[in-house]
Amino acid sequence: MDWQYFLGVLHFVVQPVSLFTMVVSVFFGLIVGMLPGLTATMAVALLTGLTYKLSNEVAILSLIAVYIGAISGGCQSAILMNIPGTPASAATAVDGFPIGQRGEGGQGIFVATMSSCVGTLTGTLCVLLLTPPLATLALKFGAFEFFLLALFGVMICGQLTAGADPLKGWISGILGLVVSQIGMDGMNAYPRFSFGVIDLMSGIPLIPVMIGLFGFPEILYGLVSSTARAQVKTTSLEVKKGLGILLKNKLNMIRSSFIGVAIGIIPGVGEDVAGWLSYWAEKKSSKTPEIFGKGAYEGVVAAEAGNNACIGGAIIPVLSLAVPGSAPAAVLLAALWLHGLRPGPLLMSETPGFVVDISVYMALSAITMVLLALVVSKATVRILAVKSTILMPIVYVLCMVGAFVISNSIFDIYLVFVFGVIGLLLRGMSYPAAPFLLGIILGPMADNSLRRALILSSGDPTPFFTRPISLIFASAIILMALSQLNAFGWLRKLLVHEELKE
């Protein structure tokens, strides 16, 4: 690797214009990511238009900075209000919100932000070092693997979020997959479950569903409760204690970061799945899995390190293959095209310094993000001091605006309400909402992959079990299902019997 690229990009970044752009963009990203309903995808998309007249370098720096800021900012509203600012923070809310409820919102944000930074830096390292070999591995994923990955994602999410009742988690995930089937299918343009309604033919958009499922129940419960004032009094941040938590979770952070990068590389699977998978891996390996979901810092660290490391992972296929690893990365790819850059193998050979540029932008943005997020969190923890009867109408208006501005459609704000009621029912009957959302995210990929796979094999399902990567996913799914059906009861009985005999 040539050091002249590093020196060149460092010289550019320390220019006042570059520094100012980076700070403003990270801050903008944090705010957008923090506000429920406004996503990283939207932040990058909004800024793409604004940076059109800037130089390529400044524009790309700005877009990378806003991407990192927005993914990190999502954790703040997840911890303080149980409304993930972005889908990437959904896993963070599982343990983050109980931490906030316990009066440790400031501490939770500190731990989440530092984990985000470590995740982003790990992702950066991977962009720099692993782009060519990992892109080769990602190419080995075919339709069979993508279908099983989608199914596996929904199942583990259901297993994780439903507590002692994974059956309800799976039902919620299946319902999400069902909702994702509404609208024209990608291969035959056949309108499925649309009932002749034009708006339904274009499918159910993700953002209004996310806002409705997570935001609406919180808003409604917030309108009829007045517990907010009591919480802020106990909101605390002890840096030493926070660093202790991080130090205790160093292995967790590293593992989650690498999971995030690996998920990011797989095209189409974004930060949200990375967050959930990292969370699942940490819960599975923990000696105290029962504390997860009740305010375990381990869960927040895993989810945030995983989803932020995914940024680097998602950028790897953008740079090497011109294939986005996630939705914000797709907008970033479009922005690179807009600025006259041609990502893909040609970019790697013609301008090898570009990978170094991106890596340095990411690393510096991550550090800027930590500094800014901690400043912002001092203000955001005060959100809890505002009476919920004042805050919630404002949040509802923001949710509506967030749902509307993506595609300027009034139908989307209707969807917020409809899916809000569904979210309320799910919550009332102890069905987790997160697998439902993940089902909607992964549904189109599952549909296209399943049919492509079966067309390739002329309807023969055996490749699902004979291809090496498929076999791993298929085995994991089957084992998960069998364990719930108590298929291993005989084994447990046998082991207990042997133990008693001893």
């Binding site: 799976w170 319902l175 997959l177 069902v178 499925r192 009332g428 067309i455």
Partner: protein, 159 residues
């Protein structure tokens, strides 16, 4: 009996009906498009419907095992009666009605600043969130900020 068993009993029956409807509809998709079923738009919906049928049947079996069909139905009716008389449920219904009014009536028909101002002033007044003066100030600040940032800075249309 688990307090949620009667919900499980009712929802599992609802989900089983939904999955049966989906199976029929998915099959019809395959017939409409023609060709092999595995390549038709109804392929994944069919798989999902079968999975939903299986999981909801498991849920039904569990709820019956834990309480019995008749007891579950009686539990659901009793819960509905309690819900009807609950003060919190009534307040939530009023809140949901105002949110619905903004979503389905005000926002699609009036300019953003007008619909949002009306919604915020009305909701905060009904909830007795703050004094009228503060209510008006908060509303003006929120509507002005959103309008300024989205409409004037980013040129993003608002509902």
């Amino acid at each position: 009996m688990d307090k949620k068993t009667h919900f499980d009993f009712v929802t599992s029956i609802g989900l089983m009906i939904l999955s049966l409807v989906m199976i029929v509809d998915s099959y019809r998709m395959g017939v409409d498009v023609g060709g092999a079923l595995y390549a038709s738009p109804g392929m994944l919906p069919m798989v999902l419907a079968l999975l939903l049928l299986l999981t909801s049947a498991m849920l039904l079996k569990r709820s019956i095992r834990n309480g019995g069909a008749r007891q579950n139905l009686a539990g659901f009716v009793a819960w509905f009666d309690i819900f009807r008389k609950s003060r919190m449920a009534r307040e939530m219904m009023v809140g949901a009605l105002i949110l619905a009014l903004y979503t389905f009536v005000l926002a699609p028909r009036l300019p953003f600043w007008m619909s949002t101002s009306m919604f915020m002033i009305l909701l905060m007044a009904i909830l007795k969130a703050t004094s009228l003066v503060k209510n008006l100030m908060i509303t003006a600040l929120v509507v002005g900020s959103i309008y300024g940032v989205f409409q004037m800075v980013f040129h993003v249309p608002l509902p």
